[in-house]
């Protein structure tokens, strides 16, 4: 080797070493300091600069992510909506476009609404009652992601088979002059009011095309989209035609600039640097303690449950003892630390604790010896198991732990990590014969049916795109869910019945629920009042500066 080349190698090695050292130095751990929130006087925000990780669509009939709904909630109004308040009251349904709450027939099938007077879209045109019908039809015509929620409207199933612009959904009767909307259901559905409050049912002008129109459809809310770039972000400005109501305030920011940045560290750094006021970025657990002194960290409790499902049709999980063994074997407390540095609450429930139907279950205390014993009793020792998860770091960490636990109790488990985009459709396909895996559920709307009916009602199992990954079907549970579907109001008695259903399910252990996660939201120090709406998250239009 020539001396020149030798020097080149030495220099390369030195450069590498220097690079590594700089990397370490750059990430130096900052000592965390706890500070008390100072007293402040409230000031209007002016322009709110937010950074969020991603959105799917900004089209009300298409969007189906929390981030999209977070923005769209202030642009598109629905017949009913939720209060802009903090705490449990945020779950309360209140009139949105409707003048008041609807009248409901005794059989729970007919809903009558009357729209508020003088509502205008952000383009100045008047809202018509028939626009609601067009929004539902548009969902079917554009095969929107939420059409499944509206198939119980009379005539909707028939319409969905051959949707046309001129076709009719017989169960929606509108009168533009009287501003009335009558909705008839094919069968009663206790969660229908909450379904009407979903973004999918937000009226859009009848002239709106069925193509996906991100950020281009006028809405009736306090803001409108003024710019949209799929890669960079979007901007919301005030809708000059909006008139505030008892439940929908005008909003404090004049403008909301939203940047889309997928890298959590970069998003957080923007807030620390003063380039942004707020981010919902998933801050890595080990960075949370160090960033909290550099801004305002808000831990937002949302309705979510993270769980491992066990396919009761596939061996060895077709045996109750194996499913119970898994529930005993999981150390739920350790999992919170492993996966998100402790920012979650251990759970054995299907429902999150934010629900009035929630009754804390304590069926399975952590007991590995008992789990091993149950596996032996079930004759499942060394049974081959494939654990499925998706390529997202928290899901992979949880599934790695889960795989290790299954091996510890005597099963022969291996992990299969699928790309994020194809995970749910793969494990939700009967042909995959997926045995067990990771999943989570974030509420669409605050009603137990959004959990039990969607995720654990055996009557709703489908061969493809099935949400019931455990393929759980139990006659007793199914009939209880069907019966509770008819209950129009969540009275204490109804909540009690839901709690019984939940206990029945967890005694059969098709799931091993393990966490109700809390999400960190990070604000700059300049932000004053911070408000959280239980369903939609940070209430952007009620924020203020110091």
């Amino acid at each position: 080797m020539s001396s020149k080349r030798r020097w080149t190698w030495l220099l390369t090695a030195l450069a590498l070493a220097a690079g590594v050292s700089m990397m370490v130095a750059a990430y130096g751990v900052a000592a965390s300091k706890s500070t008390k929130a100072p007293q402040h006087s409230q000031k209007a925000v002016g322009t709110l600069r937010a950074v969020i990780d991603t959105i799917d669509f900004l089209d009300p009939q298409q969007a189906y992510t929390g981030q999209s709904w977070w923005a769209m909630w202030n642009v598109y109004e629905t017949l009913l909506t939720y209060k802009h308040v903090d705490g449990p009251a945020g779950y309360q349904l209140v009139p949105g476009l409707a003048q008041s709450l609807p009248t409901i027939s005794n059989n729970g099938r007919v809903y009558k609404f009357k729209l508020r007077k003088g509502i205008r879209y952000s383009n100045g045109k008047a809202l018509k009652a028939s626009d609601f019908k067009w929004a539902i039809k548009r969902g079917f015509l554009a095969t929107g992601q939420g059409v499944g929620f509206y198939t119980d409207i009379a005539g909707a199933k028939k319409y969905s088979q051959h949707p046309t612009k001129s076709g009719n959904i017989s169960g929606i009767i509108t009168n533009n002059k009287k501003r009335t909307i009558v909705i008839k259901l094919a069968k009663p559905r206790g969660d229908f009011l909450t379904i009407l409050a979903l973004m999918f049912a937000a009226p859009v002008p009848a002239s709106t095309s069925t193509a996906i129109l991100n950020g281009k459809i006028p809405g009736t809310g306090p803001y409108r989209f003024s710019a949209f770039d799929a890669n960079r972000g979007f901007t919301m400005v005030r809708n000059k035609y909006f008139k505030k109501t008892k439940y929908i305030p005008r909003g404090t920011p004049n403008k909301i600039d939203v940047a889309l940045i997928g890298d959590a560290n970069a998003a957080v750094q923007r807030v620390i640097n003063g380039q942004a006021d707020y981010t919902n970025a998933a801050i890595p657990p080990d960075r949370i303690a160090s960033v909290k002194s550099k801004g305002k960290l808000v831990l937002r409790q949302t309705a979510n449950t993270y769980y491992f499902w066990m396919n009761i049709r596939e061996a060895p999980f077709n045996k109750l003892k194996v499913r119970q063994a898994v529930n005993y074997a999981i150390d739920r407390g350790a999992l919170q630390r492993i996966v998100w540095g402790g920012l979650g609450q251990a759970t054995q429930n299907v429902l999150p604790p934010t629900y009035p139907s929630y009754r804390k279950l304590k069926l399975y205390s952590h007991n590995v010896a008992k789990a091993k014993q149950l596996i032996n009793q079930a004759g499942a020792k060394n049974a081959k198991v494939t654990v499925w998860t998706r390529q997202v770091s928290d899901a992979v960490d949880a599934a790695q732990y889960y795989t290790s636990v299954l091996n510890t109790i005597g099963l022969d488990a291996k992990l299969n990590v699928l790309p994020r985009a194809t995970y749910y459709s793969t494990v939700g396909n009967v042909a995959t014969h997926a045995q067990t895996g990771w999943a989570r559920w974030l509420e669409d709307y605050p009603h137990p049916l959004d959990w039990f009916d969607v995720l654990l009602n055996g009557n709703r199992i489908t061969d493809t795109d099935n949400n019931n990954y455990a393929w759980y079907s139990n006659k007793k549970t199914n009939s209880a869910i069907e019966s509770l579907k008819k209950a129009q109001v969540l009275t204490p008695a109804v909540n009690g019945r839901w709690a019984t259903v939940e206990k029945q399910i967890m005694q059969q252990a098709p799931w091993a629920p393990w966490s109700n996660r809390v999400f960190p939201e990070f604000f700059s120090k300049k932000m004053g009042c911070i408000h959280t709406q239980r369903l939609y998250g940070i209430d952007a239009i009620r924020l203020c500066r110091k």
Binding site: M1, S32, P285, I288, L297, V396
Partner: protein
Amino acid sequence: MAEPATDLTLDSAALLASEEHEVAIVGRSPWYLAWRRLRRNYFALFSLCVFVLIVACCAMAPLYARHIAHTGPNEVHAGEKVKVDGKLTPVVGGGSFYDAKTNRFVVRAPAYLGPTWWHADGRFVLGTDNLGRDVAVRLLYGGLNSLKIGIGSALICTFVAVVLALLAGYYGGWLDWIITRSFDLIWAFPVLLLAIALGSALSINGFHHFGISIEPGSLWIPTLVISYVLIPYVGRPVRGQVLSLREKEFVEAAIGGGAGPLRIMFSDLLPNIASTVLVFFTLIIANNILTEAGLSFLGAGVRLPDPSWGNLIASGQDQIQTAPWLALVPGIAIVLTVLSLNIFGDGLRDALDPRAKVRMEH
């Protein structure tokens, strides 16, 4: 006066002639000459020793795991405590927690057990990751996997590339055209992108065609993917050499002597390109280890929870602040391995053929 003893006589002249003849006829093989040159290159030899040491350490991973660390590479110990200097310490401690009294979360950084440096009876020598797995055990197993893939793919890639290069260079014509265009086709894609695409596609369902069945988590997937994408990088330069050797007199002589194509390719041409192939083989191992690390880092190589140096870095980057060793240790292992192989490869090239310009380019 007596004749001086040094005077030449017929006998001494003959003796001298025979000695000279002996010196002249005792030839040194090119391999011996190469070894003589190589053994003077201490830096290259030191690098070889480093590489052999790394291979030996990784090969002993199962022994270390079973008899010293008492844990497997994928065993999770998150909820456990371990005695460090006689004091019980949680494997994964700290972290935020919910305070039922205040109904609020107390935010704290998680604390992973750092390197214990033999103060815990051989357990967690290099600390733990966020799941409480022994980093030293995972590092050794990860190295074993990385080396298996690196060396395995280098063997396959070199073998296929040399065979194709010999066929293309010797026969020329349409066969050369087809082989060269195939090389061009693969060459047209950026190596890592093509490898990611193939690795990701195969990692979902594995490969089950032509009577070959490879399961999704198999190490054969990254091995074959890396072999495939790097074939032209070895094949093209070797083909160029074969093309030039094809016109040499010794080949014409062999043809004149009635030797068949296979004999010429493998008995006459192959030994003449052997030194180039050997250097390529050494350099490509380093290159393949890097490619594997890149693939595994991006989730398209070795499947979790099985470790490789690439996926260890990927897993460690989320804990870079609280547990920097998780990403640094496998990173250093990759740097040492690749550096030692490259330095040795360079030394080998200088020893075998100092005029050669063999290097990996892509």
